[in-house]
């Protein structure tokens, strides 16, 4: 069976092509200012081309993410929470708690058997999200990846007072004016994000290890800060890219549903 998962986030479209429960291709694309419908369709086409699969061979398409309704050609539209739980289950990591860190959201999910049982997410506030990181990094004139590796060299512990992204940006500018070193500011940024994550994880209770997925899980500085601040074991997927796990979950759920359907039709016959 060929099942495609399309995850439309607020900044990236992620597509996973699944052939008989193994990954045939992945394709991430930046949305930018293009219409989401277009990016969704062109990324889908690019992904199946990578896997060398003609469009007619695709059995089902499952869309997820905040923009999932824009994928009109999808067979199923499924919430990210379900896809996250299913995707992480497939990775077979020794944990039942996942943390999804994206451009606009932070989500923690306690899973059982590939299904979510408790979900907590940031409440319409950009603090601690990818957008927060983008905005507070700007005054330092670095990319967020550079900020990540730089933070590992920090020797001085600074504490940020502002939670609000807008006020945090001003705070960073004052820290620069006070001649604090960029590596120390970088660590303070990541630790403030980690604090936000920690408060969400504490709502779940009884956590020892977590799997991080989503675009931000690729930032070494953030991952290190989360380890230090929470004290939990942090697991990150190698293949596929952790940013693609939600789309992977969507493709798997598509498979599950098709198989269920097939069994039902079979019984009816």
């Amino acid at each position: 069976m060929i099942s495609i998962g399309i995850d439309i986030g607020s900044q990236f479209v992620k597509v996973v092509v699944l052939r008989d429960e193994s990954i045939a291709a992945v394709h991430p694309a930046y949305i930018g200012t293009d219409a989401i419908e277009h990016v969704g369709y062109s990324s889908f086409m690019a992904a199946i081309e990578k896997a060398d699969i003609p469009k007619d061979y695709v059995d089902c398409v499952t869309a997820t993410g905040v923009g999932r309704e824009y994928v009109a050609f999808a067979d199923y539209h499924v919430s990210e929470t379900l896809c996250n739980a299913r995707g992480v289950d497939w990775l077979n990591l020794p944990t039942d708690v996942l943390l999804d860190m994206g451009a606009d959201k932070i989500m923690v999910v306690k899973c059982h058997d590939g299904k979510p049982i408790h979900v907590f997410r940031n409440d319409r506030c950009a603090s601690g999200t990818g957008r927060f990181l983008d905005i507070v990094t700007k005054p330092l004139g670095l990319t967020t990846e550079e900020l990540g590796s730089l933070s590992l060299k920090s020797t001085k512990h600074l504490v940020m007072n502002s939670n609000c992204t807008v006020f945090a940006e001003s705070e960073i500018i004052s820290l620069i004016h006070q001649k604090e070193r960029p590596e120390d500011i970088a660590r303070a940024i990541f630790e403030s994000m980690a604090e936000k994550v920690h408060s969400l994880l504490l709502k779940i209770g009884d956590v020892e290890s977590i799997a991080i997925i989503g675009g931000l899980s690729k930032n070494t500085g953030l991952v290190e800060a989360i380890k230090v601040v929470t004290g939990f074991d942090v697991l990150i997927s190698q293949t596929p890219d952790p940013q693609m796990v939600t789309a992977l979950g969507a493709a798997l759920i598509g498979c599950d549903r098709r198989e269920k359907q097939a069994r039902r039709t079979h019984r009816e016959e």
Binding site: D123, C125, R131, F132, N163, C164, V166
Partner: protein
């Protein structure tokens, strides 16, 4: 008796010099990274206007975020007390004050003497503050002092704009611009979002007539009109909303001076 009030805010620094409660001179400058220097510069400007020198000042009260950094002040008072005092002195009916500054927003209740009875403030989140307006103005590339009147020309079409986060609201606005919505309508929606947020704050202290709007955001006609419409109540706008804190500080300075001299006579 010559007194002065200096209000070092997060965005602008204000000063007023008065003679027995009559304003002689006032000045507003942008706050610099060094709040002590900001206080000095604004005081010098005001003194120059009043043709007086610092030694002529009998009592100076400092207020605002940077009030502890005013070496020439004789005392400091929180901006909450100063706004209550200043607003009530300009209109004896005032019982509620909404102080909307550059980085915070406060809803204050006072008695008939201008004394603070209760207050709530938001200084943790940029949504519902002057900063929110600044960011909106930057996103749509329009001067800050024009977005108020532009918003009044728009229609509130219930466009989806976040009320809880300035950053998400900005992203929402960008999306709406991309979808071809009119700037005026977007502004009407954004102002609605801001005002709903402010009403939440006001609701926590309760609004008692008359309501005065002070602080720099009081200069924004779009906010004032929308708030009047939503509350079904006329709002009292002081001569210069931005100067209410400094005005109150100078009045408190006068009160202190009077009680000092009377206690000396006794």
């Amino acid at each position: 008796m010559i007194t002065a009030g200096v209000d070092v805010g997060s965005l602008s620094t204000k000063a007023i010099i008065m003679d027995d409660g009559e304003v002689l001179a006032s000045a507003i400058i942008l706050t610099m990274p060094d709040s002590e220097a900001s206080a000095r510069i604004v005081m010098d400007k005001t003194l120059e206007q009043a043709k007086l020198s610092l030694s002529d000042m009998q009592y100076i009260v400092g207020t605002g975020y940077g009030r502890v950094n005013i070496p020439f002040a004789n005392g400091t008072v929180t901006e909450i007390s100063c706004h209550a005092k200043g607003a009530q002195a300009q209109n004896a009916n005032v019982r509620t004050i909404l102080d909307m500054g550059g980085q915070d927003c406060k809803a204050i209740r006072c008695d008939q003497m201008g004394r603070v009875v209760n207050f709530v403030m938001n200084d943790k989140c940029a949504a519902g503050t002057g900063r929110f307006l600044e960011r909106i103005a930057a996103v749509i590339n329009c001067p800050l002092d024009q977005i108020g009147s532009l918003s009044l020309q728009g229609v509130n079409k219930d466009l989806p704009i976040s009320t809880t986060c300035a950053v998400f609201a900005e992203a929402d606005i960008l999306k709406l611009i991309r979808n071809g919505e009119e700037i005026n309508d977007i502004l009407a929606g954004a102002f609605d979002s801001l005002v709903r947020r402010i009403q939440g704050l006001l609701g926590r202290v309760g609004v008692e007539y008359a309501l005065c709007i002070s602080g720099g955001v009081g200069k924004n006609i779009g906010i004032v009109k929308l708030l009047e419409r939503n509350l079904g109540m006329e709002v009292f706008l002081p001569a210069d909303p931005q100067l209410v804190g400094a005005f109150g500080a100078a009045l408190i300075a006068l009160d202190r001076l009077k009680s000092q001299t009377s206690s000396k006579h006794n």
